[in-house]
Assembly symmetry: C2
Homo-oligomer: 248 residues x 2
Amino acid sequence: MRFEPVAPVRAYERVVEQIEQAVVSGALKPGERLPSERELMTQFGVGRSTIREALRVLQAAEMIRSRPGDPRGPEVLAASPAALHRSMHRLARADHVGLAELLQFRMILDGSAHLLAAELRTEDDLTGLDAALESMREGVSRGYAEFSRADVAFHEVIARISRNPLLVVSEEVVRGVVLELIEDKLEHASNRTSLMRAWLAHHAEVLDAIRAADGGGAAHLAKQALYDNYAEYVPAGQRPLLTPLLQS
Amino acid sequence: MRFEPVAPVRAYERVVEQIEQAVVSGALKPGERLPSERELMTQFGVGRSTIREALRVLQAAEMIRSRPGDPRGPEVLAASPAALHRSMHRLARADHVGLAELLQFRMILDGSAHLLAAELRTEDDLTGLDAALESMREGVSRGYAEFSRADVAFHEVIARISRNPLLVVSEEVVRGVVLELIEDKLEHASNRTSLMRAWLAHHAEVLDAIRAADGGGAAHLAKQALYDNYAEYVPAGQRPLLTPLLQS
DNA sequence: ACAAGTACACTGGTCTGACCAGTAGCCTGC
DNA sequence: GCAGGCTACTGGTCAGACCAGTGTACTTGT
């Protein structure tokens, strides 16, 4: 017989627990309102600071939102990937996670997203991709910022077609962190126009593979493109981490 | 010229921002201590309730931990996947992320981890895997709980060999969430011994592929095993989401 | 009758001050 | 040298207060 160590349970944790339970059980649906802090304080039988700390925790988890002056009370929010985004972002910026690991992870996610997109795409999806590619083409002549935004939009369409929110969020986060790490180096790139043309050509190729429902081909193109574009920023000693992904 | 809507910035948010910045920039390393609440209150020039709400937010993000009575003050924690786990768990229990998406994501992660492991494994890694497999073999006769723990250990070794913390953490989190979702169904499985034997055989097969440095083979085996074991719990209509991943 | 404007009751955000139980380290007494 | 108590702190909680802001209901002007 072993005994478990007991942790003291704070009052605000009990409050969080009860409210969270009400939300995940569906007793409180998104859009509904919590009682005001002063009302909660009498219902739970604790002081207002305790209630407020509990609400802060729930607010940090994107479960509720409170606005000063609103007599209807704090609002229950729908589940959103924002909290996932934040915690993954924090983890990715921590130590032991360098550009090599991020790029490796992104190759995995991007490759899989392209594979799924090629297999699952509908006709509507294809027209959406056509439109995204078209605005990239326009973006070439309208400056790097515009082009970059169109590029992001293209990737988002791909991720959406794969119909997996986890994939979408993870890829978005990793892409953001990668760009943060190398944006200063990208700034100095002199031949940005030719880079944009190369990117455009690559996306056209990917779109062809997706249209042909060639999942393996699309995945390989995506991973190869990431490698070609970013591997130069990875320390040479770590590049062997990336090459195995290019084979499949 | 467009103007952005401005959101009122709360005092506690500024406090969170500054402390978080100090942590991610490395000015405050894990194990170090923050000043006491009363000291922070004078440094930031705000009241204690504001400081406490900020600390609650940071604590909910697993960045700090405070114990009453400790004169050294709140402790800065190392980056941990706990927050990621919580937010992914919450998202998984919400709509739009069901078992199908989780399993799909896990097939991607697990497959990639096995691929990388097969390509990057050293001799030491192989002996580690042999040991893990051996304790699984022992676990068969020592009950499901023991076997399950050895199974988890095996997966952790695989993930570690792939040398990518993001992959390790993501896989761990997704595996945990998947198990939570179906653990009640697994409880009732009558033929657990034969299930364990099948799992064991599969792991031996995977280990052979890794030993042979056959990345594609190991990845395919891993994904196929996940599909074989868990697809029955996925609604039939969503199973086509999983099959494309088995082809590569 | 209706629109515009105003008053009010209430919201969340913040501060102050207080009390409590508990801890870590010092400091005594042996 | 060491066991035991002492003390100055810690975080957890509560109570009460003030403020700027909001939504609503009511009043007012037309």
